[in-house]
C-alpha cells in the first residue's frame, strides 16, 4: 500500500485522524441545531454556528452506493470497490468495502456495514467498512 495517496491532516481535520489512529470514527455535531456533519470543519455547515463538538460515532452505517474499479490505481489492485457509506448519524463518507468479494453479488446496496481501521503509518489510519454480518 506504499503508493497510496495518503491524507495530510490540517488543523481543522486533526481530530478526525487522531480518532482513526485510536480506532474511533469521530464526527462533529452542531450544539445549536444538533446536526451531525462530515467532513470536518470548526463550524456547522447547516447553520453557520461555531458552537460545535466532536463526538465518537457508532461506526455503523449502510452501503449507499459504489463502483468496482477495474483499472489499476496507485496503492490498489483491481477490482476494488470505491464506496460511499451512509452513517447511522446521518453523514456519508467515501471508503472501501473490505473483507468481502469485490463483486456486485457480494456488495449489496443497503447492506449494513461497520467501520474498521487500516493503519498506514504511525500517523494515518484510514477508515474502511466491512459487512456487519462478517
Amino acid at each position: 500500500m506504499s503508493d497510496l495517496p495518503l491524507p495530510v491532516p490540517t488543523p481543522e481535520t486533526k481530530h478526525f485522524w487522531e480518532g482513526t489512529r485510536a480506532g474511533e470514527l469521530r464526527l462533529q455535531r452542531c450544539t445549536a441545531c444538533e446536526k451531525a456533519y462530515f467532513p470536518p470543519r470548526p463550524f456547522c455547515p447547516a447553520c453557520g454556528s461555531r458552537k460545535v463538538e466532536v463526538f465518537k460515532a457508532s461506526g455503523r452505517g449502510f452501503l449507499y452506493s459504489y463502483v468496482i474499479h477495474h483499472r489499476p490505481a496507485p496503492g490498489f489492485t483491481p477490482p476494488y470497490s470505491i464506496a460511499v457509506v451512509e452513517l447511522e448519524e446521518g453523514p456519508r463518507m467515501m471508503t472501501n468495502i473490505v473483507g468481502v468479494p469485490q463483486t456486485p453479488e457480494a456488495l449489496r446496496l443497503d447492506m449494513k456495514v461497520k467501520a474498521v481501521f487500516a493503519k498506514q503509518n504511525d500517523e494515518i489510519s484510514l477508515v474502511h467498512f466491512t459487512p456487519e454480518a462478517a
Binding site: 497510496l4 495517496p5 495518503l6 491524507p7 495530510v8 491532516p9 490540517t10 481535520t13 462530515f38 467532513p39 449507499y64 452506493s65 459504489y66 463502483v67 468496482i68 474499479h69 477495474h70 483499472r71 490505481a73 496507485p74 496503492g75 490498489f76 477490482p79 476494488y80 470505491i82 464506496a83 460511499v84 456519508r92 463518507m93 467515501m94 471508503t95 472501501n96 456486485p104 446496496l109 484510514l126
Partner: protein, 380 residues
C-alpha cells in the same frame, strides 16, 4: 439582462478535432478563437472582453494580442463556458465591455502544453476521497449511479441505451470520433471500467477547442452570421466531493441552474426544440432530463428507450453525438454550446428541422457545478 438583449455572433471549433498532437493547448485556444473571429468578421483587436477556463484569461488575451476591459476566469470544470456566456451577457448589458471572446482549448488526449492534474493531499478531497482509490472521473462521477438506478427501479440496459442513441446522432456527423452503430448488447459487453460502467458509457478523450463571440443584440444585426440570442441563463455549484452530493439521484446544481435559465428565458419545456445535456458519462442525460424537468423522477430511462431524444424523436438531444461519441477534451461544455448554436443557426451536420429554441445544459467537475443557457434565433 433582458431576454434576447445579448447575442452570439461568432462561433467555431478548432479546425481539427480528435487527436491533434501538433498543436499545444494554448494554440488550440487560439485556433478556435481565430476561427470564431473569422466567423464574426472580426480581428482579435476588436475584442474587449475575454473569458476562459483551464488556461487563464491573461494567457489567452496575451497570446491573441487582446487588451481587454473585462475578463472572467471562472473555472468550475466543463460547464465553465456556460457560466462565461452568462457572465458575458451580464457584463455587456452593464456596459463593462462590448464584444466578448470565450475560448476553450484542451490537449486532453495528447497532453501537449496541458495543465497538471493533481489533488492536493491536504485538501478535503485529498484527505477524504483520494485515499480510497479514486482515479480520474470514471471512478468518481459514476459512484451515484447504482443508487440512482435502484431507487428508480431502472436498469443497466436503460443506461446503455443512452450511448446507443447518441451513436445514432454521431453516425450523421463526419467530425465525430466514433460513428459506427452500436447496440445495447455491444455496450454491455464492452470493457468494464468501473462497474456498472463500461467503456462505451464513458466519454471519449480528445484534443480540440472552441470559441464564441458575444455582443449586444442591437449590434448583432451588423454581423455576417444570423444572431443567436441569449434568452435565459442559470448557474450553480454544489460540492467538489462526489461523496458529499446531497442526493445521489439528483443534482442540486442542475436543478438550480436549470430552473433559473427557464425562468429568466420565460419559456416552457414545450417551447424547447433542441437539447444538449453534457454527457461525460451515460447517466448524465438521465439526471439532466429529470433535474431540468423534461420528465418526472424515474422517467428518464423509459424516455430514452422510447427514442424521444433519438433522430426523429420529439426532443432531439446531444445531436453532435455528445461526449460519448463526438468529442470530449476534458471540458466538453464548449462543444455542447457550439452544437446548440449550429442547430439554432440551422447549420448543424445533423440538423434538426425548424429549431428555434435550444437549451444547453452543462456540468462541471463531478456534479460539482452546472450552467444552463437558453438560446434562440428569434429575439423576443
Amino acid at each position: 439582462m433582458k431576454p434576447g438583449s445579448v447575442a452570439i455572433v461568432g462561433a467555431a471549433e478548432t479546425t481539427e478535432l480528435g487527436v491533434v498532437p501538433h498543436l499545444s493547448q494554448i494554440q488550440l485556444h487560439a485556433d478556435a478563437a481565430l476561427n470564431a473571429l473569422a466567423d464574426a468578421g472580426l480581428r482579435p483587436q476588436d475584442i474587449d472582453g475575454v473569458a476562459t477556463a483551464g488556461n487563464t484569461p491573461t494567457e489567452v488575451a496575451y497570446y491573441l494580442g487582446i487588451t481587454p476591459t473585462w475578463v472572467d476566469g471562472t473555472a468550475v470544470g466543463g460547464c465553465s463556458f456556460m457560466l462565461h456566456v452568462r457572465h458575458a451577457a451580464a457584463a455587456i448589458s452593464a456596459g463593462l465591455c462590448k464584444t466578448v471572446l470565450v475560448t476553450h482549448g484542451e490537449s486532453g488526449k495528447s497532453r501537449v502544453g496541458a495543465l497538471p492534474r493533481t489533488i492536493p493531499p491536504s485538501g478535503l478531497q485529498g484527505q477524504f476521497e483520494a485515499p480510497y482509490g479514486i482515479f480520474g472521473p470514471p471512478s468518481q462521477f459514476t459512484i451515484p449511479v447504482l443508487r440512482f438506478l435502484k431507487d428508480r427501479g431502472m436498469t443497466q440496459e436503460q443506461l446503455a441505451m443512452v450511448a446507443v442513441v447518441q451513436r445514432e446522432w454521431a453516425a450523421k456527423n463526419p467530425r465525430a470520433l466514433y460513428k459506427d452503430p452500436i447496440t445495447v448488447a455491444d455496450v454491455l459487453a464492452s470493457r468494464m471500467i468501473a462497474y456498472p460502467f463500461r467503456i462505451l458509457q464513458c466519454c471519449v478523450v480528445t484534443d480540440g477547442g472552441g470559441a464564441l463571440i458575444l455582443t449586444s443584440a442591437d449590434r448583432a444585426k451588423d454581423f455576417p452570421q444570423k444572431p443567436v440570442y441569449i434568452l435565459g441563463t442559470g448557474e450553480s455549484v454544489e460540492t467538489p466531493m462526489i461523496s458529499q452530493m446531497e442526493d445521489f439521484g439528483s443534482s442540486r446544481a442542475f436543478r438550480v441552474a436549470g430552473k433559473r435559465a427557464f425562468e429568466t428565458a420565460g419559456i416552457k419545456h414545450s417551447d424547447v426544440d433542441h437539447l444538449m445535456i453534457y454527457d461525460a458519462f451515460a447517466h448524465l442525460p438521465l439526471f439532466g432530463l429529470e433535474d431540468l424537468g423534461f420528465v418526472g423522477r424515474g422517467e428518464s430511462g423509459d424516455f430514452i428507450v422510447a427514442r424521444n431524444t433519438a433522430p426523429g424523436g420529439k426532443l432531439p438531444m446531444n445531436t453532435n453525438g455528445g461526449g460519448l461519441s463526438y468529442t470530449h477534451t476534458g471540458m466538453y461544455g464548449m462543444f455542447a454550446l457550439q452544437e446548440s448554436v449550429r442547430q439554432v443557426r440551422g447549420t448543424a451536420l445533423a440538423q434538426v428541422p425548424g429549431v428555434e429554441v435550444s437549451v444547453c445544459h452543462g456540468v462541471g467537475g463531478m456534479f460539482a457545478a452546472s450552467g444552463t443557457i437558453v438560446m434562440s434565433n428569434q429575439r423576443p
